[in-house]
Symmetry: D3
């Protein structure tokens, strides 16, 4: 069952109250007061942020009930200590992951996943080339892949770093490519749309996101670019839908979509469609990151904090209309 009280809510409160709610414990240690009495110091997290927690009594007993990285249900009250909010915990116990709605613990896209998925299906349906269309249908009809494409984030830090972020990014890239296939009629629309839809497909295995977004071992050692190409290789090996040349051109789009070797692409774009997918995915990633910065801007300041991804400060003043 979903949460009703979030960390963000607690931080906006002034007075204390007793509540029961689920959190993820991200750090846990036993410390001692000046008087030498042990207490439990926890960091509690959900999709909206982090807050400190303290258990002052029965520390040994309670500490044995859960570990760091466990979900817990706790009953407690809100206090402030040296200007910081803190949860004074009265009771706490472990909760199994199955009972948890992951969307409560990792930020999610505000958009409708079903609606976006529908637009992806329409794009596939619009592909004229039969072999590309059947290949895409086959790939996305795998329930494992479809489920992951619908929920995966597109990154850990840089852009679209939330549940559904991959779907959002892929759809955006594909729809811009759809427009550009009319603007640049020399481009092969079918290959362009297919490449756009598949360019980041390897991210479904590069990132894990059950409690927090992180890289998998495979993500760190192989990377989404090669994982994506291998998904094509394996399905084509089994189904023989594309033929050698289209398989090669499709994988080339995936392999080259970062544009330059130093950004992790083992090949730079050498086909018109690969060139376009690269530029559009770069545009959409950077605009996505800029929009996140804009969203966090409070409207009072003309300039954002320093943005590592951009290596600069951004101008976030918007017209007041």
């Amino acid at each position: 069952m979903g949460k009703s009280l979030f960390v963000k809510d607690l931080k906006n409160m002034e007075s204390a109250l007793i509540f029961t709610e689920n959190f993820l414990v991200t750090s846990k240690s036993v410390l001692k007061t000046n008087a030498g009495k042990p207490y439990l110091s926890l960091t509690l997290k959900d999709a909206s942020g982090e807050i400190d927690g303290r258990v002052w009594d029965n520390v040994d007993l309670i500490s044995a009930r859960f570990g760091s990285n466990d979900y817990v249900s706790l009953t407690g009250s809100l206090v402030t200590h040296q200007g910081r909010h803190q949860v004074k915990i009265l009771d706490i116990k472990k909760v199994e992951a199955e009972q948890i709605d992951p969307g409560d613990f990792i930020p999610s896209t505000p958009k409708s996943i079903d609606e976006m998925w529908g637009r992806i299906e329409s794009l596939i349906a619009s592909i004229g080339d039969k072999s590309l269309k059947s290949f895409l249908k086959e790939l996305f009809s795998s329930s494992e892949i479809a489920k992951k494409v619908k929920t995966a984030p597109a990154g850990k830090v840089l852009h679209h770093e939330y549940i559904g972020g991959l779907l959002e990014h892929v759809l955006s890239v594909a729809e811009i490519c759809d427009f550009l296939s009319k603007h640049y009629p020399e481009a092969n629309r079918d290959m362009l749309i297919s490449g756009a839809l598949l360019h980041d497909i390897g991210k479904i295995y590069e990132l894990s996101y059950d409690r927090a977004i992180d890289y998998t071992d495979e993500g760190k050692l192989i990377g989404h670019i090669v994982i994506g190409a291998e998904l094509i290789t394996k399905l084509e090996e089994k189904k023989k839908l594309l033929g050698k040349e289209k398989e090669m051109l499709l994988k080339h789009i995936i392999l080259s979509h970062h544009g330059e070797l130093e950004y992790g692409s083992p090949k730079r774009p050498k086909t018109l469609e690969a060139l376009i997918v690269h530029f559009v995915e770069n545009l959409d990633s950077k605009v996505g990151a800029f929009l996140s910065v804009l969203e966090k801007a409070d409207g009072d300041e003309a300039w954002s904090d320093y943005q590592r991804m951009f290596n600069r400060f951004l101008y976030v003043k918007r017209d007041e209309e």
Copy 2:
């Protein structure tokens, strides 16, 4: 009056024939035959290419009639020497530039300049912000500027390097930005369209293109990025249409449109609109260059020659349908 016989045509001919036609002389020198007799060696050029020319008789007399970089009208026949085509010149005289159609001597866009100009005007008309709209109208109503925007190339070598190329590129960038203003509703459409239309405006003074496309002194010492910003400064100084903030944001788009300092932008994009214009103009330049390569490909080879702009070979095989 326009040309009817081009260098390209001559190069496709086998046999000799007598003709009269206009050319641009791009090099001229007096050499001697093995027998010690002087002759005139010329390079003749038009929009379609270059060919050698020779005057064998009356060299002193004829040589005095014109210089290098002059337009000439000549009567001659076509011969081949060691496998190369050559024009054997019987008579030749200078022609004034006014009598020449520049489009015969510098390659031109195949698109209709008037039709493209009409779409630029529609885009300006669609701008909602009154100060931006009047500023653009004022700028483009200058007959000097309008004339140059309609004819200037967008570059000397890299992309859109022909008469009308600037107009073609600017319109393409602006129309993609128009689409993206719907795709990313957070962007300010008026500023985006204005920035797209003006980002390369400085090229009208950076390049000269009466006989061949070349950089002006101002182009080499100041550059189109700063020339463009100064056009805004001067018009705003005179007409006060934008106000300080919009002037600053518009110039920021121009100054930052190359994206990185090392590509000649004194500032990197710090507004959402500047970011988008930068990516779109980069996309359109590179796609424009790729399309030129595709056009030159003869269809037999899968790969282009080495492309300096891309620093790689390009895959130019197209589906045969």
Copy 3:
């Protein structure tokens, strides 16, 4: 009226005493003691450094009298808390900026501004070329520009980062160029001196420095290099003193003085005078930064702290004679 007691003085004191003095409040927040009593925590600043301040009583009343970034006059005593100095504030009220000597709050050059300004005027008087000389006289006779050139810093962090720093740097560069015009007689002395005097003129609008040195919006979006070139453009547009070629060569010096594109110059030096101004201004900036490090060195250590501007440690041991 100027300050007599500075933060630096307070930090050198051991015992407490009651004093009344002006400070700039750079942060202000209401916190609570362990006992739950609210108190005011301030950061107090002047040209010599920063110190904490605390108001323990009548917090609501007193807090309403001023905000962050206000100048205040306060009465208090000096205490130490956990080894840190702190001002225990007894009374405090806002002071208007007009009553403040900015030199008390931003570090200033130790040199005489009038004497330096006189040397600038002598250099201008020594220019032989009439159009360059009248242009410079016209520009520096503007009271707004003259006032700003006399007071602006040359940077926020890197070098000459104090009131009068721009004047100091520009004069130093111009006097070295004066020497070099004799050492390299091929250089055009008039253009060299003019370029030296104007190369950083855009900094007068790039930086604001009323309470602290910071970049203006224009500084961040346009930058001093282009602002400087535009000051030339606007004055020449109005007065027509230089003519097209000299205007272009003078602006080229400004635009290229950072030497390389990646340091923010949209053009690299292509004239002899631009090349010399670039090297001299680079030398003077780096020597200026080295001298600041030397000044801060206490004489006991052979090596400075790590210097970000130089990306290395510097050897600051000086001969003891």
Copy 4:
């Protein structure tokens, strides 16, 4: 049947003689003499170099018998023209590729391929880990792969650019790794040897080498690094010999063996074994290239020509003992 007379031999001859021998035609065009008579100008090539060929009579008839890139058998004599050697062709006809020994047309390793293959098999036999050993045996028992591994070059230009070069390089890398597995006992010998043997396996499909060494389309669009990883993926998908972790670690060695992203590796080495394979393969490639330069040095000069791969001149003076 193999060649007995090579281009290199012809170039060392002074006088003319009549001979019959096979060559590869690498360019072919019909030109005209000053007198207007057509003749056939050919470039003839074998493993030892290139030489010009001319057919002076019956050009139409003879020209129809073969095309550029065909193997031919010709009868002719050696002449010199303006200091250059030339083959005067009396008769010429096409020869099918099957009748040709490719080693005559592409340079080959001087080492015994069978002996080297035997050492590869010994290394595989010495692997202790059963799953790695069976995987390698399975892979190298494919007759297509074994044949290609035995004959492929390791590059087109840079190093080991001859038939058998890949085998030579792979064996050298694996034997150095064998030594290093004792020198650094912390390294996993089985994984190290396996990675060394497979690091360049993708080159068997990256390069074609039937008439000359060149990149395949797959080589240019996918590249040997990813092709190599995919060979592992496909075999493991079919045979399930490695298990997920070993498959990942083995592919990581292949993907990271160029060491840095900018050299085309989509991942940098993150395991000890990948780190060692990267350094050893880099050492062996560079030493291989240096040895080729040494071999070409004539002993009179202390310095080589400028070497593009090293971006420098090399010192090739050897002790005379």
Copy 5:
């Protein structure tokens, strides 16, 4: 006399106890308790780590006995304060450096220095070229140099950063080069071994390591690469053992062993032996650093912390056998 109780031991203890032991004082300051009573706050260090120390009584008297950077013998007990270990000091006095075993205060190689030195001597004995062999014998027979080569670390931070680390690294590089002289018989074994043994010789004066490893002034201003070359120059000037050419080739190996100018080599490798030494020393440094990371890994985590030297996370999971 050596230490028996190390900081690491103290940090693993829970309860308090009275002990007497030597430490290095690395920081010392007099602070005041909230009650205003002065106390001495020290940082105590040995090869195993750092711990806080406090003197609560007779501060003036005791503080006068020693300074920061002195070795001390102290009697005290272990307490914990806010979860941190702290030594409560009852008595403390200065100890002269001569009475200290430096190995107690700087980490040392676990390997036998005498055994490694013996292998260095065997390698020298195996050199065939008489002039190289006598030069090396002469150099290593200097008692100052021999003593320093046996004890110096190979670096301050990056790799082999402990007493004996230089010897360990140099021996490893030389033994790999010994193997490679057989693997690549074209290399001159005598020059290769000599270069390997001397490549880092300048480090004996680049680093000081009596209390902690640090750079000397000479290390920072001249650097081990040039110091090393000058050691050769000086000895050769005195003894004339090598002759001009061998001196030059040997120094070239030292000067070029970092491989690229940007890594501090004033020349890149241009001889075969210099090339091999460069690659092997790079391999051994990086493997050495990787092994340190492996050693610190606790076995529970598959991934190391972020490694600055590698600019990445490393995979440290080892097989459990």
Copy 6:
């Protein structure tokens, strides 16, 4: 005896004449006429340029008299062939190097070497620090060093690439440093002047310049930066004039004068004097190169050819006064 007729003179002549003059033969080969008769084709060089030479008769006999890279005295006449000048040689014989004035064959500074040397001596005389002064006097009193400093070029291609160029450059750098020692009184004038005078001293052994300027083996393998530092080391080892610290600081200036590692300095400037020498020597090298370009400019063109050293075109238009 010096030359009176130079290649440059011959190239400005139209008609033929018989003359006898010295040249350097830089290439020599025996070719055959179309008629099959052998002739000798030579390249003849002096300080002013290169010209072709031909011997048509007695080729065997004459060819045996001299080789490539020999000086020759020849008698011949001037002819033109296909628009190129050529010397038709009637008689030719070898001349020993001792009879040649090298200044006729390598370009020389137009300035007086004695006058420049005098200014160097004055600068040394003006040094206040006794140990630096005696060290410099000792070094420059060596007749070998003095002779080489007076004649060496400062480079092969980039700047001051002529006899006396090193002296010219060193004097210019030292005189600018003399001025700057007054402008920046914090700098140690004695160290600054000494560093300026010695920064490039290693070039006397880096370059050979008897027939043409070229790098020596030592120049390529060790380089002028380290050679220069070693000259200091050796003299100090013998004479003990500087003491350890001044020796170190002086060598640091030499080692760091290229400013950045990637330009071949093994250390970057870390003292004030090293920083200033670096900037001044960079300025003087680049200005020197710019002045060479200016000198070659013919006055008609505003722009130079592409300059590799600057990686750009230079504006060479000078005021006509």
